[in-house]
């Protein structure tokens, strides 16, 4: 009855907003979209989160359109224009010791940053999700063993383990990503396990099992989706950490190698003449800071919206 009534309403012609605000959703898609819309409205009220969102969107735009936005080439050296201060015509953020435009290099550097972040968030959370759900679902000795391993990795300070790994694997971007991913999965495993434990004994899982579904199917189709929201929140909050670790490795000369315009590497290069030409080290650092702050603000806001349980950390 009710459903038929709403369908008639659409025929009368409704806007998208009205469709989203419909108190009687007609389809699963509509109700899901309405939920998302409500979350969005709540997020929009948080001014800091919107700033974070704007920064994130700007970063992605910069990375995609770098070749069109950048006035120069990021690698080519122009020694006649070396160490120009900010505000020089044509170089509003100045140039480095090889005469390369710093703004151009920051633009191209955003691609490397985004690339590293994407690679890490495509691997570490997935690994953590698998380990956590398997441990939580099976329980018993599987749980004990997997969680002990997780604890061991948690016992390592992240950066130092990453350093040791890169020392063995050799410097370079892929190895840096690998090292960061290997050190950042444990918290995801913890989160996923906790979520799994709460749903494991619920009726719908029992129903699926009675229908003859195997463990793999239950975990993949019915447990993992329940873990996703909390994992996603953690991912957003972790992205800043990934950026900072990658920049730290770059700074120590263990990450991306020169002449790539990686931001940490650019700071390391500017360190030599910090007191005379301050801008060379300052500008890329500001870029790192702004981008991490953007992710943190967004993640903080998202958590308030999606996870009503925690208001602090």
């Amino acid at each position: 009855m009710v459903q038929r009534k709403t369908e008639n309403l659409y025929e009368a012609g409704t806007t998208l907003i009205e469709w989203l605000r419909d108190p009687n959703p007609a389809s699963r898609l509509q109700s899901r979209m309405a939920q998302t819309y409500l979350s969005w409205l709540r997020l929009r009220r948080n001014r800091l989160a919107m700033v974070g969102l704007a920064i994130t969107v700007a970063l992605v735009t910069m990375a995609i359109f770098a070749p069109w936005l950048a006035p120069y080439d990021p690698i080519t050296q122009t020694l006649s224009e070396r160490l120009q201060p900010p505000g020089t015509t044509g170089h509003w953020l100045g140039t480095d010791d090889f005469g390369r435009d710093i703004w151009t290099r920051i633009l191209y550097g955003s691609r490397i940053t985004l690339y590293i972040v994407l690679l890490v968030i495509l691997t570490a959370p997935v690994a953590g999700l698998i380990i956590g759900t398997v441990a939580g679902y099976f329980g018993g000795w599987v749980d004990s063993v997997l969680m002990r391993i997780t604890d061991i990795f948690l016992a390592f300070p992240k950066l130092i383990l990453a350093l040791a790994l890169v020392a063995v694997l050799g410097p370079g971007m892929v190895n840096a990503v690998l090292a960061i991913a290997l050190t950042s999965w444990p918290p995801y495993a913890r989160v996923a396990r906790a979520e799994t434990l709460t749903v494991r004994n619920s009726d719908y899982i029992a129903a699926v099992r009675l229908q003859g579904a195997g463990a793999l199917r239950v975990i993949w189709g019915h447990v993992m989706p329940m873990c996703l929201p909390s994992v996603i929140i953690r991912v957003t909050l972790d992205m800043a950490g990934v950026i900072l670790t990658a920049a730290g490795l770059g700074f120590l000369g263990l990450g991306v190698q020169p002449p790539s315009p990686e931001w940490g590497l650019m700071i390391a290069a500017g360190r030599k003449f910090l007191f005379e030409q301050w801008w060379v080290a300052t500008m890329p650092g500001l870029a790192i800071f702004i981008v991490s702050l953007g992710f943190n603000l967004l993640g903080d806001g998202l958590r308030d919206v999606l996870d009503p349980r925690s208001s602090g950390k």
């Binding site: 800091l48 002990r148 604890d151 730290g248 700074f251 120590l252 000369g253 700071i267 300052t282 992710f295």
Partner: protein, 354 residues
């Protein structure tokens, strides 16, 4: 570390505590051996052959075989690992390739500098972070709360090495308020070796004990900048957690009761609520203390601070793996130790955490 519920028939508190401590120490030991397993694995997959790095390229076959036996590399992996664990538990972390000194002795020389730096940083972080968090929690949503939140998030987003460089640029280069990189001015650095007895390796304590207050002042001017910057990072974490605990505490009924009785608000917050917030804060402070060990790696590079972090990064640059892994093990062990200590302290302080 999940607490093991061995027996719930209301056992005497201290006995219960002892049993839990035993369980904690067991967990600790397992974790430590796991940590060694990871470093062992890392050290065995290094592409460079440890025999070659000791003997050099022109060693004879016989020399190589002899060194292999001496290093125990000809034995099965399991035996090698057992020996590795045994040695590590006895404080033998191998020999540095660069200096040919035992790694553990070198670390013992470098560690006090890190300890001094992170201790002062934690103290700064607590002194600012706890009051800031409490104030933010008393007026949620206010301008003050927003400021504390933003300043905290900025701390989370700051690349610590860049923050160090900016600090040097402004407070040392431009304003000249603080001493530059290093623990002392070069003049004092020379004097330190001859005129001050090294009791602890921590300059502030050693100079104070020797009554060299001029040197003490100089050391303060050097440590204040890196310690404040690291302290800012730990303040970001501590204030955030304090706010969250405090919010939770202020919603409790005993707070309402205290208010209804007419107790002054200041006393309700700073005495009644804060007292209960302090218990979970033990864990937070311990955690931030161990985070600082990590932050110290990059900060020490910037400030030429002769600590553990700098030891590890210097060793990395010349591929001195025993030193890198030895440093990793020590940092990991301290990390585990601090967490266990805070765990025990928490159980002692909070009667509910049985």
């Amino acid at each position: 570390m999940a607490s093991l519920d061995l027996n719930d028939d209301a056992p005497p508190r201290l006995g219960h505590f002892a049993r839990q401590s035993a369980a904690t120490i067991f967990t600790l030991l397992i974790t430590f051996i796991g940590l060694l397993a990871v470093t062992f694995f890392i050290s065995r997959v290094i592409p460079t052959d440890p025999v070659m790095s000791i003997l050099g390229e022109r060693a004879t076959e016989a020399q190589i075989a002899e060194t292999r036996t001496a290093l125990g590399l000809d034995r099965p992996m399991v035996t090698q690992f057992a020996i590795y664990v045994w040695d590590a538990l006895h404080g033998d972390l191998g020999t540095s390739i660069r200096t040919k000194d035992p790694v553990i002795e070198e670390i013992a020389r470098y560690f006090p500098a890190t300890l001094e730096l992170s201790t002062i940083a934690t103290i700064i972080g607590m002194l600012i972070g706890i009051p800031a968090g409490v104030l933010a929690a008393t007026k949620p949503g206010s301008l003050l709360d927003q400021t504390v939140r933003l300043v905290g998030l900025m701390g989370y987003s700051m690349p610590v090495f860049w923050l160090g460089l900016m600090g040097l640029l402004i407070f040392y280069g431009q304003l000249g308020w603080v001493g530059g990189p290093g623990r002392l001015d070069a003049v004092y650095d020379m004097m330190l070796q001859f005129e001050v007895t090294q009791h602890t390796g921590m300059i502030l304590i050693d100079t104070a004990l020797s009554g060299r207050w001029d040197m003490f002042a100089n050391a303060v001017s050097h440590i204040i900048l890196p310690a404040s910057l690291l302290g800012y990072l730990s303040m970001a974490y501590i204030s955030r957690m304090t706010r969250s605990f405090m919010m939770n505490e202020l919603g409790q009924e005993y707070i309402t009761t205290a208010r209804v009785k007419g107790m002054p608000e200041r006393r309700v917050i700073w005495v009644h609520a804060l007292k209960n917030v302090m218990v979970p804060l033990i864990t937070v402070v311990a955690l931030s203390y161990s985070f600082l060990l990590e932050g110290a790696v990059l900060t020490e590079t910037i400030f030429a601070w002769p600590g553990l972090g700098r030891y590890i990064t210097d060793a990395l640059l010349v591929a001195d793996m025993p030193a890198v892994l030895g440093g990793t093990i020590v940092v990991g062990a301290v990390y585990i130790g601090i967490n266990m200590f805070s765990d025990l302290l928490y159980r002692l302080a909070d009667p509910r955490a049985k």
